[in-house]
């Protein structure tokens, strides 16, 4: 029949070779979607008259959209379109845009601390230097440690900080009470493990959840927080690898002990699983940062009054209980022809306390802008959290000195070897020191960075 692809011996070969060739072409062309062209093709443009686009995701995108009408009252000539690209889709979209020399990028980009150094290093002209547009005067306005994140060399300013998330310990007060555990008395994570055992025995509910097979890139959030509480990270300030430091091994051992005691629920599947777990009450604690409060309130309104928050226990007795675990930033694309107008919008949203207070009220996004915390919004008791002033809990953490964690341009690679190591510990019972040593070796080989031991 004519569907059959083969008729004569000669026809067979030619057609199949063509198919083969097509497949080869498909295989090789994927990697070629990159360019090295300069992305700094944009310019300042007309400061008062422009049409700009902003890329963000979910709640922050909604919050940005809500800022547009009042911004336009002050800058009637600037039209602003906010697009919700979604997270993690936004990273792929920015990466391909940058790789294409800035083609198709929005004017304003919302970028997480985990991606900012990578973009800045791999695409030197991908982001506009905000220093030249007037950002330098805000040097002291943000939470400690964050200026180094946006301006590593102290001159070029790649972005301006928006949210600053501190490590948190969101817990179900009703379950703690049922098990007879006093959350306020938990000084270290060892105490927390003991408490977890009691809660499990009394209520059958596990202590925390981790994405054990690392189905999502952020599966090592808890491990990373335990490192940050000790003031260390995957890289030191010089960019050397510190993945198997004593602090890192200690953190992984805590996770292993929790898992061996049956206190860790599997959050494989990422966000959706986590939300389902909230609804079904399968864990008693979410060791998540500031922004998580907004998620709880939104996803499980029926659990009103059951949740409380405090700063996480220390890793070692007397150790620090606060760390700025991550932050997000607004940057202006180097390819944007309307950089001055884009900067006006960034400046309006990020440097005015009133803007940040408004965003906090609607979306519970904690600002990096310290002055914003003078607003009453951060000092009001929250009915959902049993009258707790949760804004003040995190403000205390934010004011504490926090080292600037060096995410480096190789954070994604580090995260990959870390989550693989964690998976080995959680699913195969591997030894923390062994797997972290291997992970450090592998990362060193991939990146050519020195390993500090």
């Amino acid at each position: 029949m004519n569907v059959s692809p083969v008729n004569t011996p000669l026809g067979i070969d030619r057609r199949r070779l063509l198919q083969l060739g097509g497949a080869l072409a498909a295989a090789t062309s994927l990697a070629a979607c990159s360019g090295t062209g300069s992305a700094g093709t944009g310019g300042a443009g007309d400061k008062d008259k422009a049409s700009i686009t902003v890329w963000s995701w979910l709640e922050p995108a909604k919050a940005l959209k809500a800022m547009v009408p009042e911004f336009r009252k002050k800058h009637p000539g600037i039209k602003v379109t906010v697009q919700d690209i979604g997270n993690p889709a936004i990273w792929d979209k920015i990466t391909t845009g940058m790789a294409a020399g800035g083609e198709g990028l929005a004017d304003v980009l919302h970028i997480g601390v985990d991606y900012l150094p990578g973009y800045a290093e791999k695409f030197p002209d991908g982001l506009a230097d905000l220093g030249g547009l007037g950002a330098t005067k805000y040097r002291g306005a943000f939470a400690p440690g964050l200026w180094r994140t946006v301006s590593p060399d102290g001159k070029r300013v790649n972005a301006l900080p928006w949210e600053a998330n501190s490590a948190g310990f969101w817990y179900r007060a009703d379950l703690f009470e049922k098990a007879g555990v006093d959350a306020g008395a938990l000084a270290t994570w060892d105490d927390a493990i003991e408490a977890g055992k009691k809660i499990k025995a009394k209520t059958g509910i596990r202590l925390i959840g981790i994405d054990k097979p690392a189905s999502q890139a952020d599966a090592a959030n808890f491990f990373q927080m335990l490192l940050q509480l000790q003031g260390t990270f995957y890289f030191n300030a010089d960019g050397d690898i510190t993945l198997d430091s004593p602090e890192a091994v200690r953190a992984m051992k805590i996770i292993k002990r929790m898992n061996d005691a049956g206190l860790v629920s599997d959050f494989s599947g990422g966000w959706n699983t986590m939300v389902r777990s909230l609804k079904k009450s399968t864990v008693a604690v979410h060791p998540s940062p500031t922004w998580f409060g907004g998620v709880i309130e939104r996803e499980v309104p029926q659990q009103k009054g059951k949740w409380r928050v405090q700063l996480p226990p220390a890793v070692r007795p007397g150790g620090s209980r606060s760390a700025t675990v991550n932050s997000t930033h607004l940057a202006v694309a180097g390819s944007s022809p309307h950089q001055a107008a884009a900067w006006s919008f960034v400046e309006y949203v990020l440097t005015r306390p009133a803007s940040q207070a408004k965003i906090y009220r609607s979306a519970a996004i904690a600002p990096a802008l310290m002055e914003a915390y003078d607003d009453a919004a951060f000092h009001q008791p929250s009915a959902y959290f049993g009258g707790q002033k949760r804004g003040e809990v995190f403000l205390k953490a934010l004011k504490a000195p926090s080292p600037a964690f060096n995410y480096s341009a190789d954070y994604a690679r580090a995260l990959k070897v870390v989550t693989d190591a964690q998976t080995k510990v959680l699913l195969k019972g591997a030894d923390p020191a062994d797997v972290l040593g291997d992970a450090a070796d592998q990362l060193g080989k991939q990146t050519g960075r020195k390993i500090v031991r």
Binding site: I12, L24, D92, E121, S268, A412, L427, K428, K445
Partner: protein
């Protein structure tokens, strides 16, 4: 042309010959003009990336500037445990899933060709439909079905009194899940290719076999299978290429995990380029993959192809 003909209705033979000579180059040009659009598109979107990715594969990006490093990226490939893990995983799928799927497809093709089967077109459509489903959409459906705690499959297993299976969270089961998803998706497609070929096998051969006293098994072994040979070669080569480029299923279902148990070359290539921004190394991976596909394809042509 026609205008010329009207003016000189009684053209002499030499004049006609001269006209033919003149028009010949134009006649040769026409086919090229017709394929020009396709050629331009092919050059812009296939040839250029292929060439450029080779150039890229010889470079390394440090601090935003590309430096020429020769074969360094290829040397790094040989020394990269993750690349070998990806190759090994791919080889397992090739050795296990592809033969199982093609055997299923062959059986299915024979069944769908049988005159004993009522409503054949409905069944054919049913088995082909998975092929039309978007890769990502079916990946997400599978991830929902196979979720260890909230998935439908485990819910059903638990109803039957058995423990849930860690479909996507255990290294071995994750491989099996990927294999299941692939089989569900591509068996019908391959069956349709085989079915088409099956219908060209002359009925006389079956009659002759029956006269010679061949039973169903011998008929299948000595008439159907040889008849299917070219189509089997095609499906084998296509499945091999598809497997080597495997990306969507592991990307959606497992992201290559747990602990790289389902990491394929496609997923590793993607991570290297778009997560680690290491386009030079990613291009080297792509070229290694292309060479591999070429070699395997040639071997399959030699082994399964027409001997004539």
């Amino acid at each position: 042309m026609s205008a010329v003909l009207h003016k000189a209705p009684a053209a002499t033979a030499p004049a006609r010959a001269a006209r033919a000579r003149r028009s010949r180059p134009r006649g040769r040009l026409a086919p090229y003009l017709f394929i020009l659009p396709a050629l331009v598109l092919f050059a812009a979107f296939k040839l250029y990336p292929i060439g450029w990715s080779f150039v890229l594969s010889l470079h390394k990006s440090v601090g935003g500037t590309d430096t020429f490093v020769g074969a360094d990226n290829y040397r790094r490939l040989i020394d990269d445990p993750l690349f070998w893990t990806a190759l090994k995983n791919t080889a397992v799928v090739l050795a296990v899933q592809v033969p199982v799927m093609l055997a299923l497809a062959t059986g299915l093709a024979v069944a769908l060709n049988s005159t004993l089967l009522h409503g054949r077109s409905v069944f054919r459509l049913g088995f082909f439909l998975p092929m039309v489903t978007g890769l990502v959409a079916y990946g997400i459906v599978f991830s929902v079905l196979l979720h260890q705690e909230y998935g439908l499959v485990n819910w059903f297993l638990e109803l039957l009194g058995s423990d849930g299976i860690p479909w996507l969270t255990d290294p071995l089961w994750a491989k099996i899940s990927i294999g299941l998803a692939l089989t569900w998706h591509y068996t019908g497609y391959n069956a349709v290719i085989l079915l088409a070929r099956l219908q060209t096998v002359p009925k006389e051969l079956y009659d002759a076999a029956a006269v010679d006293g061949a039973g169903p098994w011998h008929t299948f072994r000595h008439v159907t299978l040889p008849g299917l040979r070219p189509a089997l070669l095609l499906t084998t080569v296509l499945s091999t290429i598809g497997t080597l480029q495997l990306f969507d299923e592991p990307y959606v279902l497992t992201k290559g995990g747990p602990d790289n148990a389902t990491l394929t070359i496609g997923v590793y290539l993607y991570q290297t380029a778009f997560k680690y921004f290491d386009f030079g190394y990613a291009s080297a991976i792509a070229y290694a993959l292309a060479v591999l596909i070429g070699i395997l394809g040639l071997i399959q042509f030699r082994v399964l192809g027409d001997k004539s």
